[in-house]
Structure formats: structure tokens, C-alpha cells
């Protein structure tokens, strides 16, 4: 029994060591690849990032990123490289420029408008006098009422 416990403990420690080793072995370039590929959209997938995609085109694009990292190209230059080829669509977060300003502003504008409409409706509703039969009655009035 004692031998079995020791064996299990050693196995667990070994598994943990392998896991930690994998983490330590993750090269800084892989982290950069993950960061860059997560900011790019897979051109042939539906709403999937380049990092998450397993499409052949995405794999080749990730290979290009890896090569560019190895050649000392900056993250922004790599993003620009793909943007020049596939346009703004390839960016998971479109840049805030004159073309996409409406895209960024519209949700906030609609939310602002909705809040304004809600406040106005709420205020007008709370200030509208209740009909006579729904108005609050005093205890005396309630006692005298036929119901």
C-alpha cells in the first residue's frame, strides 16, 4: 500500500513537472505569435481568429507570422502586412478611422438615444396623474367605500 501511494505521488509529480516544462518551453516567439494571430481574422472562416483557425490558409498565414517574428519584424508591421493584403476586414478590431467611425460610434449613439427615450418616457409616465378611481384613498375613504 505504501509503495502504491509513493508510486502514485511520483506519477502525479512527474505529470506536473511535464506540464510546467511545457509552459517553460513555450518560447517568447510563440507568445507573440498567439498575440498577433489573435488580432487577425481568418479570411476563410466565419468570425474565427487566425490563432483559433485550423484552415490551411490560416496555417500558412501563421507560418508567415512565425517567419516574420524570427526575422525581427515588429508586431505592428506584421499586422500591417496582412492589412495591406486583405484590408481592414482581416483585423479583429477595426481601426478607428474616418471609414469606420460610424461603426464605432453607432452602438454608443443608439445606447445614448435609448437611455434618453427611456428617461423621457419614465418621467412622463411618473408625472401623469392617475385616473380618479385609481387614486390613493385614505383609510376613512376606504372604510366608507361600498366594497
Amino acid at each position: 500500500m505504501r509503495f502504491l501511494s509513493a508510486f502514485l505521488l511520483c506519477t502525479l509529480m512527474l505529470i506536473n513537472c511535464v506540464g510546467a516544462g511545457e509552459l517553460l518551453n513555450e518560447a517568447p516567439n510563440d507568445t507573440r505569435l498567439k498575440i498577433i494571430a489573435s488580432q487577425l481574422r481568418c479570411p476563410v472562416c466565419q468570425g474565427e481568429s487566425l490563432f483559433d483557425s485550423h484552415a490551411a490558409l490560416a496555417k500558412e498565414m501563421k507560418l508567415i507570422i512565425r517567419e516574420k517574428i524570427a526575422n525581427g519584424v515588429s508586431d505592428q508591421d506584421i499586422l500591417d502586412f496582412f492589412q495591406q493584403r486583405y484590408g481592414n476586414y482581416v483585423l479583429m478590431r477595426p481601426a478607428f478611422n474616418s471609414t469606420y467611425a460610424l461603426l464605432w460610434i453607432a452602438p454608443f449613439a443608439f445606447m445614448f438615444l435609448a437611455i434618453i427615450i427611456f428617461i423621457i418616457k419614465w418621467r412622463s409616465h411618473s408625472q401623469t396623474p392617475l385616473p380618479a378611481d385609481h387614486q390613493q384613498q385614505s383609510p376613512e375613504q376606504q372604510q366608507n367605500s361600498p366594497n
Partner: protein
């Protein structure tokens, strides 16, 4: 109704009406748009250079060799269904423009195997113009290719001026080359 709400109510109605009209206008504009037209980030930009080994022999084909010409660059593959559809059109276009010195047609065999591509050409007929091999799709990435077939038109300055996604028609090729034909006549 309070004075505040009586002031804002017509305003809100106007804003809502304006938003509805704007939406209807955008939908109306959308009705007239060509769904096969996908805007390319490369229109108006210099075409990426390439130097690929030819499909037919061991020589190379480079965009540089076609400097000063109107070029049609067609990305195709043996595994692409729509490429079969447009194949006859491309063969016809190759024949039609064979004697037009300022026009050149180039095929790019994208993400394909040489044997399969050659078998495809043997079965459907060889293009009357050269094709370069792009087995890893790097040239395709340089041109922002999404899916096949895709055709790019490059002017004599080396700038991409038109891109067509899907099977292309002979009229579309002639229309794209209209300025070149005007200059040639």
C-alpha cells in the same frame, strides 16, 4: 403630457423616422449592388511581384517580365469546381488576346499538386498562356486571395485596377481590358 415630453416627443418621432428612412435607403442601395463584388484592399496599389516556377516546364515566370503590359492574373486549381466552369472562357480569352502585344494573361496554380494540375489541363485543355506554381499559396496571400477562382487585372504601371471573385465571363475580361484595346487600336 408634461411640457418636457411634449417638446421631446415630436423630436423623438422625427429621429425614429429619420433612422427608419436611412435604413430603407441603405437596403435600397444594397439591392443594386453586385453580390459577387468583393472589395479588394489592393485596388489602386502596386501588384506584388512574384517569381514562380512554371507548370509546363522548369523555367520561371515573373511579373517583372510583363512590365508595361496590361496583365490578367488568374488564380486557379484542379480542386476548384468554379475553375472548371470558367476554364473554357479563359482558354477563349487566351486565344482572343494572343495577338494583342500590350495584353498578357498569366495563370497561378494555387495550392495544388503539379500532377493533378497537369491532369486537369490535359482533360479540359491547356491554357494558351503560362501558369506559375504557388503550392503553398504565398502568392495568393500576397494578393489577398480568399477563395478560388479569383482574377486580378494589372495596368501597365503595375497597379491592380480590377478584381473578380468567382468564375469570370469573357465580357468581363473584355470590359476590363477595354482601355488596353482602345490603346492598341
Amino acid at each position: 403630457m408634461t411640457p418636457l415630453s411634449s417638446f421631446y416627443s415630436p423630436l423623438l418621432k422625427s429621429v425614429g423616422l429619420a433612422a427608419m428612412l436611412a435604413l430603407l435607403f441603405m437596403l435600397y442601395i444594397g439591392l443594386w449592388r453586385d453580390p459577387s463584388h468583393i472589395p479588394s484592399a489592393q485596388i489602386g496599389h502596386m501588384a506584388q511581384t512574384f517569381n514562380l516556377s512554371k507548370l509546363s516546364d522548369d523555367n520561371f515566370i515573373a511579373l517583372e517580365d510583363y512590365k508595361g503590359k496590361w496583365v490578367m492574373l488568374n488564380f486557379w486549381a484542379s480542386w476548384c469546381g468554379a475553375c472548371r466552369t470558367e476554364h473554357a472562357t479563359l482558354v477563349q480569352a487566351g486565344k482572343d488576346f494572343a495577338n494583342t502585344p500590350n495584353i498578357a494573361l498569366i495563370g497561378i496554380n494555387y495550392k495544388d499538386q503539379k500532377e493533378k494540375a497537369l491532369r486537369f489541363l490535359k482533360r479540359l485543355g491547356a491554357f494558351p498562356y503560362p501558369s506559375g506554381q504557388d503550392p503553398r499559396g504565398r502568392t495568393g496571400i500576397d494578393y489577398g486571395v480568399y477563395g478560388l477562382p479569383e482574377t486580378y487585372f494589372i495596368n501597365p504601371e503595375g497597379k491592380i485596377f480590377f478584381r473578380h471573385v468567382g468564375a469570370i465571363k469573357l465580357e468581363q475580361i473584355k470590359k476590363a481590358f477595354a482601355p488596353a484595346l482602345k490603346g492598341a487600336s
